[in-house]
């Protein structure tokens, strides 16, 4: 029995019955399982359309077809992709979707145009589809780890299409709401989707009313993947529901009492395996895509677009702005045609050429790398935490993002992924463990990894290291002071090699020369701040960054 595959097929069948379910957020790498799923989706009777994450507004909304217009000399309009008849939209690499496309798709789903969206998310750990989109899709599926043998039969598209006549007993709604609360799902869209899914499932099985089995399926398909907490037996925040006993007996067409445990078992069977890891950090993994106001595009040709100019550039990588060029040439066409009537096609002179220009204001990422070892750790972490919050408080004006890496014992841990949100930061920083040895090299390595990833995303990372510098754990985890120090030096040189700016803040009571050497290896600045508090730290970092 391959549950994941069966669920995927059920989800497709339900979508075919009721396209208002929005679609599927499919988290899977490219592979046979995903391919089989896409093939199955293609067998649905709707026309299929493929979208890619960086589609331009012209492609999405339609506009003037320049090539055709110039060719025929008559205006040719293209139709927007979303204006077509209800289709299955397959969005590849959905985790990289541009904000405009995400917003348009969201609006289209809201308007219930009948499109079905399959968002194929190939993101690594913390990359995923923007929540504004995934919240509007009923189903979330994980197909990773399915082997060829697990891929079962491909369902044929069901014939039923009406969900109108399906009645749902009142207590089924109450049950769904209750389960959603217990699973910590705040969005009410999820419950609405669950109800729709239950009805569609009833239609799939040729029933006129929602039964226990339909509710079961709806919970497994819609609610369970959205859980942010393990189901609680008694909900503390909300009054315990008195639904099953009181009202079930009154309504004539009610569900048979569904034992709570059975229901929760159903949920637990479906919970993603990495659920616990996510729960330990207190939050579901959030999408980072939000913070990226223009910071997402890679390379030196990104940033805020400026009006195109007719600059004489010798750079070979300069991009011609086709629209602007044509715009510049258009008003002259009549005159130029009179001057050279033999010339066919558009009259474009070199003086019409316009090049794209961008103003590149890259966002900065401050990676606080904090030594959480030993007895002084608690205080130091507290101050680092305060400094992070203070810096974030003014972050918008300075375009800074903040991340926090702590190292202690034998390893380093990313406590706060890059963010600009105060709300999220406070939540994450609520509890910080401290104590143990000082794996300085591991800490720097973690910082470097993060710096690399973020640099690829277009941020400019700055590493701020807070430590008293007595490294005593080597990279391989052994307690060897000399090895630890030389490892730290080696990582520091690598970090410098990657061009990352850094600041070393010595928080030891007696500043050591070792850290000054480390700062030299990092090519960064060195500050001795024994017993620094949050305000001092934030001021010091500020001053260093300004210089």
């Amino acid at each position: 029995m391959t549950d994941a595959w069966d669920r995927a097929m059920t989800a497709l069948a339900l979508l075919a019955i009721d396209p208002m379910l929005g679609g599927i957020h499919l988290r899977a790498r490219a592979g046979p399982a995903r391919q089989a799923f896409v093939d199955a989706a293609a067998s649905l009777p709707h026309p299929a359309l493929r979208l890619h994450p960086a589609m331009s507004p012209e492609q999405i909304d339609g506009g003037v077809d320049l090539t055709a217009t110039l060719q025929h000399g008559a205006l040719t309009q293209t139709r927007g992709l979303l204006d077509r008849a209800p289709s299955i939209l397959t969005l590849a690499m959905a985790e990289r979707v541009e904000p405009y496309l995400a917003a348009r798709l969201g609006a289209s789903l809201d308007a219930q145009d009948g499109h079905i969206l399959i968002a194929m998310d190939e993101g690594l750990e913390d990359e995923t589809v923007p929540e504004s989109l995934s919240d509007r899709l009923a189903f979330q599926l994980h197909l990773d780890g399915l082997a060829m043998g697990d891929i079962g039969k491909i369902l044929l598209a069901p014939k039923q299409s009406l969900t109108k006549r399906i009645s749902a007993p009142d207590d089924s709604i109450e049950l769904l709401v209750d389960v959603a609360v217990r699973l910590g799902i705040r969005s009410l869209r999820a419950v609405g989707f669950a109800l729709r899914a239950a009805k569609a499932h009833a239609a799939l099985n040729d029933r006129n009313a929602v039964t226990e089995e339909d509710i079961h399926t709806a919970i497994a398909l819609v609610l369970a993947p959205r859980a942010t907490q393990l189901p609680t037996e008694d909900t503390q925040d909300t009054p315990p529901p008195d639904i099953p006993e009181d009202q079930a007996s009154q309504t004539p067409e009610s569900l048979p009492d569904m034992p709570d445990e059975m229901l929760l078992d159903a949920v637990q069977a479906v919970l993603p395996t990495d659920m616990l890891d996510k729960l330990q950090t207190g939050q579901n993994i959030r999408t980072g895509s939000g913070a990226g106001a223009g910071a997402r595009k890679i390379g030196n040709r990104r940033g805020r677009p400026l009006p195109a100019r007719n600059t004489r550039t010798t750079r070979s990588d300069a991009r011609v702005d086709l629209m602007a060029t044509l715009r510049a040439a258009l008003p002259w066409q009549t005159i130029r045609k009179q001057a050279r009537p033999d010339h066919k096609g558009a009259h474009i002179r070199p003086s019409d050429l316009r090049h794209k220009r961008y103003q590149n204001l890259s966002d900065r990422l401050l990676i606080f790398t904090v030594d959480a070892s030993g007895s002084a750790a608690i205080a130091r972490l507290g101050e680092a935490k305060g400094a992070v919050e203070l810096l974030l408080g003014q972050a918008y004006a300075r375009r800074d993002h903040v991340a926090l890496v702590a190292f202690r014992g034998t390893e380093a841990e990313l406590l706060l992924p890059p963010t600009r949100s105060l709300v999220q930061t406070k939540r994450r920083l609520a509890s910080l463990p401290g104590g143990g040895a000082t794996p300085l090299a591991a800490g720097l390595e973690a910082a470097q990894e993060l710096a690399d990833v973020c640099a690829r995303k277009g941020l400019t990372p700055v590493v701020v290291l807070l430590t008293d510098g007595r490294a005593n754990i080597a990279r391989d985890g052994t307690a060897d002071r000399a090895q630890a120090a030389s490892d730290a030096q080696a990582v520091a040189r690598a970090l410098r090699g990657s061009g990352t700016q850094s600041i070393v803040i010595d928080t030891g009571n007696r500043p050591t020369s070792g850290l000054r050497d480390l700062a030299d290896a990092l090519g960064g600045s060195y500050l001795a701040l024994p017993r620094a508090d949050a305000q001092q730290l934030s001021r010091a970092v500020d001053a260093q960054l300004a210089s």
């Binding site: 507004p57 506009g63 003037v64 217009t69 205006l75 904000p99 405009y100 917003a103 348009r104 969201g106 609006a107 809201d110 308007a111 145009d113 929540e131 504004s132 969900t163 109108k164 749902a168 709604i173 109450e174 709401v177 959603a180 705040r186 969005s187 009410l188 869209r189 419950v191 609405g192 109800l195 729709r196 909300t238 009054p239 529901p241 939000g290 913070a291 106001a293 223009g294 805020r304 677009p305 009006p307 629209m323 044509l326 715009r327 510049a328 258009l330 008003p331 066409q333 204001l361 919050e389 203070l390 408080g393 972050a395 918008y396 600009r420 949100s421 105060l422 999220q424 406070k426 949050a534």
Partner: protein, 335 residues
């Protein structure tokens, strides 16, 4: 396309609905910012707004919905002298929209077919005298934010590009929504919103159930549901229309002015925009309640809406600014 979910059928979310009604009564209050969780009815409320608002009179064919033929911009070349009723425009500004589409740009169609240099109006033109809705306003790109700030302040859209030199009126009520966990809003933009609302998913089970039931009825029993709630919407629309008339006759006692000023000083709100907005909001609220004079009660009821987002933020203070407003309110106006 289906008609949007009716405004009056939205369960709970009193603050959000009140804020939107106040801006409908007096658009000069200057917009609403709705911050909160997903799936709490933010977008639903805005999309419902369009059918709730009283229609406006506009010159036929005018791209910026001018009220009088004299107000039509020259470049539009509007020949019609007659006005007709159109629904109050509610324009969506999608995230990641290009500057061209916001401000307007050279009309490619005319340029290609006729070789004319003409202006194609953008979203700002369409939103004139209506609402401009930005979902996920906190994720909006900086250069679009700058542009909106400028237009919102001057009430005029100035386009100087591609050899065009165009200006037209662009007065609109800005409605923004977003989720604070995904990023903060820039303080300058924050200040432009007259009112701000924090929404959360209802924690009451019964309320949640009611939400789902109504949504279900909207989807499956559309005609009957719309009939039932459109009547309510119509009643609300009448109330808004009569409140607009009552607003001009409403008296503002000096004592209320003093209260409002004291409140803002105590809260340390920057600038005078807080006072003005609070006063306007309180007046609109009094008119909506059909009262003839402004009282402390009105001020108290809308103070949090108008002032919450104008306080200096202290990153180390855990309590939200809503609580601070409530505390000061009690100190200044008494319980």
């Amino acid at each position: 396309m289906k008609q949007p979910f009716p405004f009056s059928a939205i369960v709970g979310q009193t603050d959000m609905k009140r804020a939107m009604i106040l801006t409908a009564i007096d658009p000069s209050i200057g917009g609403v910012l709705v911050f909160g969780d997903r799936g709490t009815g933010k977008s639903t409320a805005v999309r419902a707004l369009a059918s709730l608002l009283p229609p406006i009179k506009a010159v036929k064919g005018c791209p910026v919905n001018s009220a009088k033929p004299a107000d039509c911009p020259d470049w539009a070349g509007v020949k019609a002298r007659r006005t007709h009723e159109i629904p109050t425009p509610v324009v969506d500004l999608p995230l990641g929209v290009s500057e061209d589409r916001v401000t307007g740009a050279l009309d490619i169609e005319k340029a290609l077919t006729k070789g004319e240099k003409a202006f194609q109006p953008g979203l700002l033109a369409r939103a004139n005298r209506g609402y401009l809705y930005i979902d996920e306003v906190n994720l909006l790109e900086d250069h679009i934010v700058d542009l909106l700030l400028d237009v919102a302040q001057s009430g005029e859209n100035v386009v100087e590009r591609e050899g065009l030199s165009i200006r037209h009126a662009a007065r609109f009520v800005l409605v923004g929504s977003g989720n604070p966990e995904e990023g903060e809003l820039r303080p300058q933009l924050l200040d432009r919103f007259g009112l701000s609302v924090d929404v959360a998913s209802p924690t009451d089970i019964d309320e949640r159930i009611e939400v789902i039931k109504r949504r279900d009825a909207y989807d499956n029993d559309h005609a009957a549901f719309m009939l039932r709630w459109q009547a309510e919407d119509a009643a609300l629309r009448d109330r808004i229309t009569s409140a607009r008339k009552a607003l001009t006759k409403l008296k503002t006692p000096d004592q209320t002015l003093r209260d409002v000023a004291t409140l803002c000083v105590e809260l340390g709100a920057d600038g005078l925009r807080g006072e003005l907005t609070l006063l306007k909001a309180a007046r609109a609220y009094a008119a909506y309640r059909d009262d003839t004079a402004l009282t402390r009660g009105h001020v108290r009821d809308v103070a949090a809406l108008a002032l919450r987002h104008r306080l200096r933020r202290d990153p180390l203070d855990d309590a939200g600014s809503g609580t601070r407003v409530t505390r000061i309110l009690q100190e200044v106006l008494g319980a």
